[in-house]
Amino acid sequence: MAIDTMRPCGDYRTSYKADQTIFATRLTLLFCIGAVVLLCFAPFFMSRYALSLLIQIGYLGIAALGLNILVGFSGQISIGHAVFFGFGGFASAYLADKGVPVPLAIVLAGLWTTVVGLIFGLPAARVKGLYLAIATLAAQFILQDFFVRAEWFTGGTHGAIAAPFTLFGYDLSGDDKYFYVVLFFVVIMYLGATNLMRTRDGRALIAVRDHYLSAEMMGVNLAKYRTMAFGISSFYAGIGGALYAHYVGFMSVEGLDILFSIQFLGMIIIGGLGSIMGTLMGTIFMVLLPEATGWVAGALSGSVIDQVLHLKDGISYLREMLIGAAIILFLMFEPDGLAHRWRQIKAYWKLYPFSF
């Protein structure tokens, strides 16, 4: 219903094709294309720092989308997403080191991570809920340990050097150029997921989440789709990780801990489980929250609050605490995430002043 009420009056669809579009109206389509075009010009007027934040949102957003497909759309759980992100990074660095061109290495790393994800996703065919959560927790620790020990692959504790991104001999490293690479991947990956969700296999994933018994009666193979969700999720994580590795130029096991996995969960909870655009919103929120904390702390420096709380020394703790607080607050007051809030804001403007 919500979708129907959001349509402008006089908007009649006369073909099924017109009714199956991604964007409800032509205006939203133009708006989205406009936003991407505008982003294409971002390197010309944005600072390098702002660009680096956008790039961060890009690769994290891709990985988070994978997790949302797994958790939000297919109703499973993974608390080991960070290691798949890491695996993608290491795999891409490794492949590039062996002479594979970086753009190809990123895609291959995604596929390689998919295979690993499928292996760790096998328990999903049999167990659900808490038990599955523990199984994915095992993936987190096994792979984290693997990264430290497999020196041939990851360089062990020293980490691995990831070659800079070059396309046909043209160097695309550096914030202002790498930005386009990330933007390209974001658009492709998000479009892919949107399309997937409006076709057969995407619907099957949601059906398995909503009512697995009747999904099975409709001919959906539960084990196949549950495992497949892990595969897709790992593919996205792998691509995101690979983009990260070639951006930073260096991949290290540090930071791929369970806290990072939980941050991914935070992104999709805040953004909205089962919402593709929500994933991006959640990622933006998670990336900008620490920044905003920094700005506020900076603005408060020298004030009474600063003197009492020692903001400058405690800023990193404060950031972590705020992320935790944000997740809790969203779970309590907006469990459907920013995507839901955004829909409500749109409905408000649409219906104003007759909000009933």
């Binding site: 979708i3 009512h211 009666m217 193979n221």
Partner: protein
């Protein structure tokens, strides 16, 4: 349908014409006997009802046919083939659809998507050309099937809620959407588990109409569990009565209703004639 099957095994030879044959099904959960040695046959185009008191094993029977449970003993044949051990998700493809007693819609999906899931086994697009959508034919296929789904939507008069989220609908509408989803499977045999439970008279009349139309116009064979005797007697071709997991009788509605055992077991009516009979048999023993 199934008339030319020459490879039918001897014991089922008498029921070559049967679309579904249930042969000596027993189902046990530990010490509990849910079904004991039940056999029946459903012919193509039939509207077959299963009735019986609560806990008689009606839904268990349906679950054995739809593959949710594997019977402890006995064989289920569909079009002459033994499907006793076929996985539930394979049964959609061979032509069995069902609805559930308690609503089993995908409550966060739109009505349209719910019904589209019903076409899962008919669609061929996959992960890869699905994600590409415009390239690889997924769009074309989706639109073709959308047309088919619209026919089902038209038939069940749910056009007005096409885009609504299934979980927000009223009970009667949800039941109808569930039927639509099962019909979208294009099954040969459709299993309805209490399609009219919890409905008011008007909704029941509508639902009965849809079921009869499905049977007569769409040519679907129907097995229905229902407690509303009026509906069962009016629309079924044949009725089977279960009690405590055993088959009491099977036959034309009127004959079944007149059967003294049924009156006693199902309708809870003490029949003086029956008691006399029992007394006589007790004396003669």
């Amino acid at each position: 349908m199934g008339l030319s099957t020459t490879s039918v095994v001897p014991q089922a030879a008498a029921d070559v014409r049967a679309l579904l044959s249930v042969e000596n099904i027993s189902l046990r959960f530990g010490g509990l006997k849910a079904l004991t040695d039940v056999s029946f046959h459903v012919k193509p185009g039939e509207l077959f009802s299963i009735i019986g008191p609560n806990g008689a094993g009606k839904t268990s029977m349906l679950n054995c046919i739809s593959g949710r449970y594997t019977p402890s003993e006995g064989i289920v044949r569909f079009e002459g083939e033994n499907i006793t051990k076929v996985k539930p998700n394979r049964r959609a493809a061979i032509g069995i659809g069902r609805t559930f007693q308690n609503l089993a819609l995908f409550s966060h999906m739109s009505v349209l998507d719910n019904i589209m899931v019903g076409r899962h086994h008919l669609l061929k697009n996959n992960l890869f050309n699905g994600a590409l959508y415009w390239i690889g034919g997924a769009q074309k296929e989706e639109l073709e099937h959308r047309r088919k789904v619209e026919e089902v939507i038209d038939f069940l008069d749910i056009q007005h809620v096409r885009k609504a989220t299934a979980g927000t609908l009223s009970y009667g509408l949800r039941k109808r959407v569930e039927l639509a989803r099962a019909v979208a499977l294009e099954p040969k045999l459709i299993l309805l588990d209490e399609p009219m439970a919890g409905m008011n008279l008007e909704e029941k009349e509508d639902m009965a109409r849809y079921i009869v139309d499905l049977n007569e116009e769409w040519g679907m064979t129907i097995i229905m569990i229902e407690h509303d005797m009026g509906v069962v007697m009016d629309i079924s071709h044949r009725v089977m009565v279960l009690d405590f997991g055993k088959k009491l009788v099977e036959g034309e509605p009127a004959a079944v209703l007149a059967d003294p055992h049924v009156r006693k077991a199902y309708l809870g009516e003490e029949d003086p004639l029956l008691e006399d009979e029992q007394a006589l048999t007790a004396l003669s023993a």
